[in-house]
Amino acid sequence: MPGKLKVKIVAGRHLPVMDRASDLTDAFVEVKFGNTTFKTDVYLKSLNPQWNSEWFKFEVDDEDLQDEPLQITVLDHDTYSANDAIGKVYIDIDPLLYSEAATVISGWFPIYDTIHGIRGEINVVVKVDLFNDLNRFRQSSCGVKFFCTTSIPKCYRAVVIHGFVEELVVNEDPEYQWIDRIRTPRASNEARQRLISLMSGELQRKIGLKVLEMRGNAVVGYLQCFDLEGESGLVVRAIGTACTLDKLSSPATFLPACNSPSKEMKESPLVHPPSHGCRSTHNSPIHTATGSRLTQSFSVSVPTLIYTGMGSGSAGKEGGPFKALLRQQTQSALEQREFPFLTLTAFPPGLLVHVGGVVSARSVKLLDRIHNPDEPETRDAWWAEIRQEIKSHAKALGCHAVVGYSESTSICEEVCILSASGTAAVLSPRFLQEGTVDGSLEQRVEENLPVGCGFCHIPYDELNMPFPAHLTHCYNCRKQKVPDVLFTTIDLPTDAVVIGKGCLIQARLCRLKKKAQAEANATAISNLLPFMEYEVHTQLMNKLKLKGMNALFGLRIQITVGENMLMGLASATGVYLAALPMPGGIQIAGKTPSDGSYEQHISHMQKKINDTIAKNKELYEINPPEVSEEIIGSPIPEPRQRSRLLRSQSESSDEVTELDLSHGKKDAFVLEIDDTDAMEDVHSLLTDVPPPSGFYSCNTEIMPGINNWTSEIQMFTSVRVVRLSSLNLTNQALNKNFNGLCENLLKSLYFKLRSMTPCCLCHVNFTVSLPEDELIQVTVTAVAITFDKNQALQTTKAHAEKSLQRASTDNEELLQFPLELCSDSVPSHAFPAAKEHPESASSNSGTPAAQRATSVDYSSFADRCSSWIELIKLKAQTIRRGSIKTTVTVEKASPMGDGNFRNRSAPPCAGSTVGVVKMTPLSFIPGAKITKYLGIINMFFIRETTSLREEGGVSGFLHTFIAEVFAMVRAHVAALGGNAVVSYIMKQCVFMENPSKNQAQCLINVSGDAVVFVRESDLEVMSTQQPAVNCQPTCTGEVTT
């Protein structure tokens, strides 16, 4: 009996009217944990009941504490008929189970109903008393911390990184149980929510046990996913990296640090900058291993980007003696582990030595009913197989580890594609073993790692390369060999030397597939997969060249299976690594050079491509220093071979070598135009429009080349579903449609966020699904972060539009006469692009945010002020105005009016009852310091409607639902005492509609880390402007929000 859970139900508010006659509600609450249920009294006739209940106490095993969610159900009491449920709240009490996180959960939770959505709120207080349990054979794993963040969390230090942990649990999906035929969809959905909540708890506990076995105390990069396998069941699986973390002493964490994480790395000893590198293989032939296994589990695995035939496992052993030594040491550290995988994408300094390239594996499976949920062996075996394959690919690249590892599935009917990918890497043994590592070796590791380029150096032996690659001497240190192109799934190491800025690069692809059943279907899919992989890779390569860049980070390739098509979407962030050679251009070669007009057409296209490359180089500021050939060093051993890119069948075409390469001395990429398909491809290359001026985008954590972030952030989710007209379903038309869909979506985002410029969309995460025939759904989650205009000025000078130029002049004025500024002029200077509405300013307590077209975070104007003096003046003004207004009514104490009224005329935010909670997919908050991790947020919701039209159609329905999900995440974070969610991710958004029946349903799964952050500017203000702050303490709070 090692735990006591205590729950108190305080009050409710904004409840729905349940009794039409009185327009009121007689509400009471049921509190359930495990099999125990308590009830509050019925609070008669009120929409704002005050239950103020006693403490309900549950005495439970800690195993249950981990597995079970606390269920709170609000009901309307009915004397004559059954009580009507108003809605429910599920509270995950896991954050209360480890000492450093939250100590109490207390706050207003939205009451959620699967049909009606949010229906009012309930105030709940939850506490846990844990007793020490010394039982060695316990089944619980209380105390293991979980983090979604894929790097070492900011206020911790990694002592040991133990390695990969994985687990999966299966169950029958209540949706597909026989009982579903007699119960309501609502009951069935509630059963599903409850079950998944339970399964996540169980999964987390089991992973925790594994971590304890490894003698770790935390899981970092925890990724939990659901597979809705339909008839065959429900799988909840998770992977993560077990670590032993040390909390950094708290006083240090309160030191003010600088704005950007990159600066942080240099100045603060607290943070572990990810230092890693990577290297990738490129345009390699595809090796397909097809093998049919058991009858029902038909399987095809497709290794990506890697030619396994050549590189034997011994590849690395022939390297230098040092390499071998290092390898041995690390290998021994990794050998004990079945899978030397890390889900991290950023690493403590010194951990990552070399990067080999992207490794991935896919396998097509036929789902069958899970007969015994307690023995999920089949699924385990499937994943083990894939992981084994990944491991062998990494070995072939001369690497003993895989970093930035992730797994995913795509399911359509009974066919399932399992995918895994990561980046093959060589790791230093430093963090991998407990106890001290050979100090001298460690030192040698450091000596041998030139700053900023070490990770680029090839880990494999150049004489025995696993795939044909073009090696040169590193342009940075000139000592080691580097490949000409590098693909990785990890974040850009902060110490990497990058020239210019990066950009989001996407490859998009559709392939039609005949409708088929079972094995025939699986065979068709597995036959298509290699070609898709190949084409996605080709597209990525071409687009990378077109951008004038030479490396991809954060590569994520998603293959989605539908009834009659397959879709591939690859996203990555392209950069120019200074260590790698300058990329060659793209050369177009015609197949039939006889026709004059054709020739002309080709040269026209060539010109366009060359222009685009030149324009992109300017846009992303890629001007690497000119390096003459001699300096580069000794001739490269292997014959200079041209990277050739051929369409489906490779034909030997000798004339290619004779082509004039317009892009300097480096080898050019040759695109052969031998059919209309190829023509289309070249066209589609050129249709990708760069983001409008003032915008950048990337899918990694931060954008290389920008580090002056302000605190203004806006996280968003955008969903689009398009219906394809079934008439023109050809691969070409599909590709075009899909391309258009993605491009338009990006354009819409840039337009919507235009008031935030200069800004960068970070961690842009696209997800594609095919809910039905002819329907494509694209979901994007990202965060827009503004950066300092001054910096933007320098960077966008060359191609700034008029508005930006105006901004620059305004800004100069601002800098010149900082003391003459009054509060009214600040906003107009700060947002030159926004139209001015003088009347709006006056109607709005003088808040400058009123003048902006679309405001996201009004505190940002403060950050943009060039000096604190303006800020203080500005605030003083705001307050003065506010107080004048308040004087009239402040004495009148009407029960609800008082607080509200203060809100209206007091400075914005000061009296707001709802605290602001920030959400971001990044692991940090710009301009702020994370001081505490409160625990993992992992929530699953189902929403259904039978009145789709009345709720504003599918868009209205989903818009409301996503807004509600955000609200519930924020409420849970606030109740834990936090003010932000970092590493937020929407893992699933499954939307189904049936317009003819006026019905729709949606499932959403989100997760992230709840944190407490303190804004650095606050700390600064407090130290530098003490008197000014003292006179208006509420004001400081305003900035925090």
């Binding site: 579903v721 009123a850 709802v914």
Partner: protein
């Protein structure tokens, strides 16, 4: 390829002020898109019409979802679904409750009932304001009226507390509620030259001086069905106003009053002779208005009477505003020197307000 679903949800709700204005003005999505295209936004941003359409739809959907909350602004502050910075909340509320001058002039003083609502079609055609916008404005009036009608205490404060409006807007709403409650006639042709601001000004003076709340007495029994302090005129006061009749009924008093005013103003008015000739008529007019206020019907016609009995005669004689001010001041003050007249306080309460109103009403 057609878009089935297209949404954008930010953790902080994006509010585009320009689109909000278009929505409030009652434009359909397509009209709003057309108007935005005309504003040159496509050229400025390089966006396509499709992007604009999707953006507008998105904002309209958001506004539609917010509308329910805007009906009870405190709800907007406490709700959890939309994370909106307080300054933006204030803006949303303020704009939502802002009304068109042309519209308010049409319904000011009318009963806020279904009947009037039916006339919105005509008002829409007449004013060029979309029917949708008319409905919103009418419903706002009605909603505010319903909430504060039965409430005690300062009208402006009540409105501010329950609708979180700015001081300025709350005062305007107080005037609208006051006019609707007392059903003052404002639609007559001869009143057309008056703006909403003129009426609002008068309403404020009347609320301050002529209502029960103005007396500042705490109700003796808090449970008694007291009149709404700020919304209804002080019945007792209106009853007492009959006493003023003596000022015109008693010929001696009238002559004395006239001579006092004339002596004081001689040489100071450019229209002295006209004033002298018209004094009795004007005085009769003003006092009779007071004496009639016991009847609801006459209360409703207050502004018609004031214009007919005072504003128009003076205007036809081309009195400058400064002369009107001098005259009214002297006219009010001189009564204090009338020994036979005993209702000085009553007179001041009446004339103080009326003088303010008349000066405001006296323009072209």
């Amino acid at each position: 390829m057609t878009s089935e679903l297209d949404i954008f949800v930010g953790n902080t709700t994006l509010i585009d002020e320009d689109v909000y204005r278009l929505w409030l003005d009652g434009y359909s999505v397509n009209d709003a898109v057309a108007l935005r295209v005309r504003s040159g936004i496509l050229e400025q941003t390089g966006a396509t019409a499709g992007v604009l359409q999707s953006d507008t739809m998105d904002h309209y959907r958001t506004f539609h979802m917010l509308e329910r909350l805007l009906h009870a602004p405190p709800k907007l502050l406490h709700q959890l679904i939309f994370q909106i910075p307080p300054s933006r909340q204030a803006l949303l509320i303020e704009r939502y409750y802002t009304f068109d001058e042309a519209f308010v002039r049409e319904v000011l003083g009318k009963k806020l009932s279904k009947g009037t609502k039916k006339d919105l079609d005509d008002i829409s055609t007449k004013t060029g304001i979309t029917l949708k916008s008319c409905r919103r404005q009418f419903d706002n009036f009605k909603r505010v009226f319903k909430v504060v009608e039965e409430m005690r205490g300062s009208l402006v404060d009540n409105i501010q507390q329950h609708f979180l409006l700015s001081d300025r807007l709350a005062r305007d709403y107080a005037a609208i509620v006051f006019f609707a409650n007392n059903r003052f006639e404002t639609g007559k042709k001869k009143l057309q030259y008056l703006s909403f601001g003129d009426f609002a000004f008068c309403a404020e003076l009347m609320i301050q001086n002529w209502t029960l709340g103005a007396v500042g007495e705490a109700p003796t029994d808090p449970d008694s069905q007291m009149d709404d302090m700020d919304v209804d005129l002080d019945k007792e006061f209106l009853q007492d106003l009959k006493e003023l009749k003596v000022l015109v009924a008693d010929k001696d008093l009238l002559d004395l009053h006239k001579s006092l005013v004339c002596t004081a103003l001689r040489g100071k008015l450019s229209v002295f002779s006209e004033m002298e000739t018209n004094f009795k008529n004007l005085s009769r007019g003003l006092v009779n208005v007071a004496a009639k206020l016991t009847h609801n019907k006459d209360v409703r016609d207050l502004f018609v009477d004031l214009v007919e009995k005072f504003v128009e005669p003076c205007r036809s004689d081309h009195w400058p505003l400064s002369d009107v001010r001098l005259f009214l001041n002297q006219y009010s003050v001189s009564v204090h020197s009338l020994d036979g007249f005993r209702h000085q306080t009553l007179w001041d309460r009446y004339m103080g307000t009326l003088r303010g109103c008349l000066l405001r009403l006296y323009h072209d």
